[in-house]
Symmetry: C2
Subunit: 452 residues, 2 copies
């Protein structure tokens, strides 16, 4: 694709190039133009796109490319692009631009659009209001199906979706909803009031955008209506934006679970320093918290040094405990985020993890005991590994896994209860706590069984 | 909601109850009926739903509830529900049912539907073919817009989505695509061929369902056309199913990253034994792999026992290395799965991680050194912590973090290259490797600096 474009460009076959470019899907077009490093060539190619394609492509660009293009645009060109793009996309772009560009953008939009953009920008970050678009099809309940189609035909071109139509009363309260499918399958004379679904599901502008997106997915909607405190319809969230939110929230959860401060900048576009800033806080906090294990070991270091074979199993015990706790915490975090479990399920969850922990611990303990006695002692001939040592190690595994599973499932639920994000209670955090407990159990059991 | 239904049910206010139930959205209805434990009451309430609501609700139930209801259905009732549901949903249900129920379902569908269901069931699990529906609107290129609307009106009721219409030739090859929006904004006499987009993006029946869903999201489609090897249109994947796939794949990735064998059964519906089965393989494998750390420590146990203060820092060093490696691997796994980076970026990625690792390691090393010398030595008065000990520990942190970052970013890309799922190369796996390297570095540095 790229080679073909380059060839047409070099040979100045403009009309052929124009046809070829306008046949490419805008998402691919944006990726392709982003790889063109020669700025003059890029703007030249961009200018060959039809008005509509240019706007669709523009929205897909990353912030840097958008900024560079806007700088290269004449006021006229900028206005043409802005006229074509949807208001929620314009608001997204503005949020990322420096003040001088924002000023230029707002100067080149008509006052109505400017007002609509400003309204969206005023909603808190991550709220439903901040990702909605005010461009939806609204109908009145006394319209006929024919009236409705006329209205859609007249105003539909500028709407992000026309397939779900919202019925509002004179004060813009949302009183019903219908679809183009329903309209198409009805007679022209039918009245909207008789067709519309009156049990309308909507969400509030201040609800979390994640709540809005999961609800849209739960109800299989193509768009979720967003209402203000007085149940007046102010916008809709379309399904493509909801998918983006779902993906971003998943990325955020995954980052938190890996002890990273969330960011939505793609990996290769984040600077080394930025990446460092996202990773160092948790590394630091977890390193300092791990101090407690050093204190425990310092306290008992003479005991351990007196039977130095015990030291050999510390990393393995730490890893096994951490992995077990991580499994539980991550399972619970994901179930909470998918709404599969709730705070009230906490006792059920703990009871289940106790049993799972017991059989996991028992199986691992038995395997570990057998391995130590048969492989390490007999095959490798390590005579330091006595029956008592193997017993102490294996029993530690059983007990630490049960502890890890209980802590791993309790902390995320507890975090949610006190209003924290459960995702931070994932493996790294759990590991630090489980390490300390495992060490105490290990040293305790060793003292008891081996009399050190 | 539930109390109101119970009250109407107890007082046998049937027509009121019927109206009330049919006003509830089917997704909520399904959740509600699943909580009704009295089977007879549940089927009674279910029977009050209109045919269409009953079918929509039925699709939302979990497998157990579906099975129980089918057992309670008369053949007639079963046929009514099956008539209303979409073919991809029917195929999903059949996949989860025991053989006797499958037989009864297939007996009660007409031969055309039966054939369509069987066709879907034949595609490999996780393929695009296995989640598509054959119920789409197809048009011919010489139709007028009016013809198209007539066709949609005649056949649209049974289609899962009518908003994207596919244009096929006489041999069912996919040659164009248009939308109801486009049709509504055109004149009745316009010819489909002049409206349709001919640069059609489609995917193959055997492509991964994840590929299909990400492509749908990338192009902001409401449905993704699925073609066979000869480019004949055989089905579509609708956006609501694509969202479900995206969520399931995210859950699967998160489970793999936490060293759990993936499952799509919700947490509370998985038995203790099933949960054990999903968790024990990785725990076992990782415990056995951790043997290598025991071997290293056994080899050097006399060295360590000779300066037992060194033992105290082992868990902290293991955790810090594991956390650092986990951050990198999880970041890379997620970027790979979102398509933000590719195999060819490996050198860029490594070079970035080296630099991030260096400044992360340096900052943590300095903090650790300061803490050991100022807090542990001076405040806590631990005289065993000498300048040389603090230096050995801090330098280990610097080196292990750099190693962890490089391993953490390389292994997922390597896994992808050899056709494995990068997600298994997450924290638990990386931790095991990094632990061994960290120990060797630690013991090496301690020998060098402290002369043990």
């Amino acid at each position: 694709m790229k080679e073909h474009i380059d060839a047409l460009y070099e040979n100045r076959k403009l009309s052929e190039l124009k046809d070829y470019l306008n046949d490419i899907n805008f998402a691919d077009m944006a990726l392709l133009l982003e790889t063109v490093t020669d700025e003059r060539k890029r703007i030249f190619l961009f200018r060959l796109l039809t008005k509509e394609n240019a706007a669709d492509t523009f929205v897909e660009f990353d912030g840097d490319t958008q900024e560079n293009l806007i700088k290269a645009f004449s006021d006229n060109e900028l206005r043409e692009v802005l006229d074509e793009i949807y208001i929620d996309d314009a608001a997204d772009i503005i949020e990322e631009m420096p003040a001088s560009i924002v000023k230029r953008i707002l100067k080149n939009t008509d006052s109505e659009t400017r007002e609509a953009i400003n309204a969206i920008l005023k909603y808190p970050e991550d709220s439903a209001g901040s990702i909605m678009t005010p461009e939806f099809v609204d109908l009145k309940k006394d319209m006929t199906v024919e009236d409705a189609f006329k209205r859609i035909r007249r105003t539909g071109l500028d709407k992000e979706t026309i397939y779900t139509c919202y019925v509002t009363d004179a004060s813009r309260h949302l009183i019903g909803v219908t679809t183009v499918k329903e309209l198409l399958l009805s007679d022209y004379e039918d009245i909207i009031e008789d067709l519309m679904e009156t049990n309308v599901i909507s969400i509030n502008t201040l609800d979390d955008r994640e709540t809005a997106s999961s609800a849209l997915s739960k109800y299989d909607f193509l768009a979720m209506p967003v209402v203000d405190m007085e149940n007046r319809l102010v916008g809709i969230i379309t399904v493509d934006d909801a998918i983006d939110v779902i993906q971003e929230e998943n990325t955020e959860d995954i980052q938190k679970m890996a002890a990273i401060v969330p960011t939505d900048t793609p990996y290769l576009k984040t600077s080394v320093f930025e990446t460092w800033k996202k990773r160092i806080p948790w590394l630091l906090l977890l390193m300092i918290s791990a101090t407690i294990t050093s204190q425990i070991l310092t306290t008992f270091e003479n005991k351990l040094a007196s039977l130095s074979v015990l030291i050999a199993f510390i990393p393995m015990l730490m890893d096994t405990g951490g992995n077990s706790g991580g499994q539980s915490s991550v399972t619970i975090i994901r179930s909470l985020s998918l709404g599969e479990i709730d705070l009230k399920d906490i006792l059920k969850v703990i009871w289940k993890e106790v049993r799972v922990g017991f059989i996991c611990g028992l199986s691992l303990g038995i395997v570990c005991f057998a391995k130590l006695m048969l492989f390490d002692r007999i095959v490798l001939g390590n005579s330091e590994i006595t029956f008592a040592v193997a017993l102490a190690v294996s029993l530690t595994i059983l007990l630490e896994i049960m502890a890890a599973k209980i802590i791993g499932c309790t902390l995320p639920i507890f975090a949610k209860k006190i209003g924290f994000d459960p995702a931070v209670m994932a493996s790294p955090f759990i590991t630090t706590i489980v390490d300390a407990i495992s060490l105490l159990v290990y040293i305790g059991l060793a003292s008891l069984i081996l009399g050190i």
